[in-house]
């Protein structure tokens, strides 16, 4: 049943995703050409340089907008399916609430992951068009080969472990982002009877700001300690310690994902009141 639910959720979100992704790719191409114009001739009139720079900025802005639009679409889909009139239909389906929540969480992670992938490809495309001669040259191939050779020589097999850990950590962060959104929306819908949408947006915005502030303060206070502690590490120990640190972060983010999932599931399961 989860597979069917996921199919419907993904169809609903990706119906608009393609359009947004296509716009971001077009903007990447346009931004890349603006970049190429700026790179090719440094004697351009100031007005042309300014317009080309503005086009570049617009292209970068479109990537951020793409990500935000996807977040809004995930929010709307979740809210509309569970807490508007559609909710009556959703919760009368012969599907467990566990499957409903899992489907929404997976849909969010897949949609945000795909968006992040397209945004990264957009940036690469923009850089490629902007300096095509360099990226097609022997020099770039040599630079890239040297970079990977040096990286492999210095960290060896750990590079594969790091890549795996970073991928898992990225997925965990995406899951956290989605579950954080769902928890705030669900909580708002539990405590407010009228104006649920505005309450949901307000609570998410407030909680997100508070959370970002706490994270920034913690990073500010914690990073110096980590730097001082790891300063004396030998080259031999640096790799396993870095791998352990990534694993620690995965567990840490995963732990909070678990808490958010449990809270959201409990609210949906026991506290939901659609009247």
């Amino acid at each position: 049943m989860l597979r069917k639910l996921l199919k419907y959720d993904l169809n609903a979100v990706f119906r608009l995703w393609w359009a947004a992704a296509a716009v971001s790719v077009i903007m990447a191409v346009v931004g890349g050409f603006a970049n190429a114009i700026l790179n090719a001739d440094r004697d351009l009139p100031m007005a042309v340089r300014t317009i080309a720079s503005m086009v570049q900025f617009l292209a970068l802005f479109s990537f951020i907008a793409f990500f935000l639009v996807m977040l809004v679409m995930i929010f709307v889909r979740y809210y509309r399916n569970f807490f508007t009139d559609e909710g009556y239909l959703t919760f009368t389906l012969p599907v467990s609430r566990k499957a409903l929540l899992n489907s929404k969480a997976l849909m969010g992670v897949i949609a945000l992951g795909a968006t992040a992938g397209v945004c990264s490809a957009d940036l690469a495309l923009m850089a490629f068009i902007g300096d095509r001669d360099y990226y097609l040259s022997e020099k770039f191939r040599n630079d890239a080969a040297r970079f990977f050779k040096e990286m492999f020589e210095s960290i060896g097999g750990y590079s594969f472990l790091y890549a795996l850990e970073i991928a898992v950590l990225g997925a965990a962060v995406l899951l956290f982002t989605v579950l954080f959104l769902y928890t705030c929306v669900t909580f708002a819908s539990m405590i407010v009877k009228k104006g649920k949408l505005i309450a949901a947006i307000g609570i998410y915005y407030g909680a997100n700001s508070l959370f970002s502030f706490i994270i920034q303060m913690m990073v500010l206070f914690v990073v110096p300690s980590i730097m001082v502690w790891t300063n004396g590490l030998s080259d031999q120990m640096s790799c396993p310690v870095a791998a352990l640190m990534l694993l620690l972060l995965i567990c840490y983010v995963g732990m909070f994902c678990g808490i958010l999932y449990t809270l959201t599931y409990r609210m949906l399961d026991r506290k939901l009141n659609l009247s």
Binding site: A47, S225, I226, T230, L247, C251, G258
Partner: protein, 306 residues
């Protein structure tokens, strides 16, 4: 309505472009032999002055002739606010880069007077906070000669050394003071053939001849200035024991106390709950427990290292 908005947008863009074109300054031009630069009637002639640099430069791109464009890819021009000294970086089509310094002709005599007035007093500029400098005789910086290896250079912090006097935005850079493992070294640009206008980055050298600074008065001043720099640059975290403790407490709070609290709550609910709730609380228990185990291993490794 849409038509009006479009007209307004087009008008705004056109007026911005027009303003920029009107306000654009007269272009710099370079002679065919690259020996002189001209702008608005002022002529600048090339001088051999690798130690001179403009500390807070303005930047421009000169206009090139057709012939120059066949040879050159681009030219960047840095100049002081007073427009007395110009430094040009020529980027040739074959990838070669060449830098040259130009002095405005009507200032040439005064400039040579300024150079000859250099008394040997130099200022070691720590950059932050403002005016955090040490003034010393250039001769006092030259203690025992040493050769710094690539490994040593890669660990260094470096601070600019320039003549005390500054003239029309032009600064005479004599070298750089390097701090490596609590010892200070002086790299004299002229002796090492380093050009101040190219910028100095110790990481770029395989080895470098320098002088270890041994003058005790200079060393004391350098240490004071460096302490002030570190306190101001990195705030409370480095030289303050309380702040270091605070940072460690935050680290332990974040990665040990919070997960431990989560673990206790999760174990409690895992035991009490049934069905799916038991499974998800179990997963939280596992992740919190795993996090604590990894944190303990890391803390033990780092404790042994430190």
């Amino acid at each position: 309505m849409k038509k009006r908005i479009c007209i307004v947008i087009v008008l705004v863009i056109l007026s911005v472009c027009l303003c920029m074109s009107v306000s654009a300054e007269a272009p710099f031009t370079i002679s065919e032999d690259y020996k002189t630069l001209s702008v608005e009637g002022a002529v600048y002639t090339r001088v051999d002055a690798t130690m001179l640099s403009v500390e807070y430069p303005y930047m421009d791109i000169p206009e090139l002739t057709e012939e120059q464009m066949q040879e050159l890819k681009c030219v960047y021009l840095n100049y002081s606010e007073e427009m007395v000294l110009m430094q040009a970086e020529f980027e040739f089509n074959d990838g070669a880069i060449f830098t040259a310094t130009y002095i405005r002709d009507d200032y040439r005599e005064k400039f040579e007077g300024f150079l000859s007035s250099f008394s040997g007093k130099v200022e070691i500029d720590f950059g932050w906070p403002e005016d955090n400098t040490v003034i010393a005789d250039a001769a006092d910086l030259k203690g025992s000669p040493v050769t710094l290896s690539e490994d040593e250079l890669s660990l260094s912090d470096w601070f600019q050394v320039h003549a005390v006097s500054e003239w029309n935005g032009v600064t005479i850079f004599t070298g750089s003071v390097l701090l490596i493992d609590d010892s200070y070294y002086y790299v004299a640009f002229k002796e090492c053939g380093i050009s101040a206008s190219d910028g100095f980055f110790p990481y770029e050298y395989m080895e470098l001849n320098a002088y270890e600074i041994t003058d005790e008065a200079v060393l004391a001043d350098l240490n004071d200035a460096h302490d002030l720099y570190i306190d101001s640059e990195y705030g409370i975290f480095y030289n303050d024991d309380f702040a270091e403790d605070l940072s460690s407490i935050c680290l332990i709070l974040l990665f040990a106390v919070i997960p431990a609290a989560v673990l206790v709550v999760a174990v409690f609910f895992t035991i009490r709950s049934k069905g799916y709730y038991r499974l998800i609380w179990g997963v939280v228990t596992g992740l919190a427990g795993g996090e604590l185990v990894i944190f303990t291993i890391l803390a033990e490794i780092l404790r042994r290292v430190n």
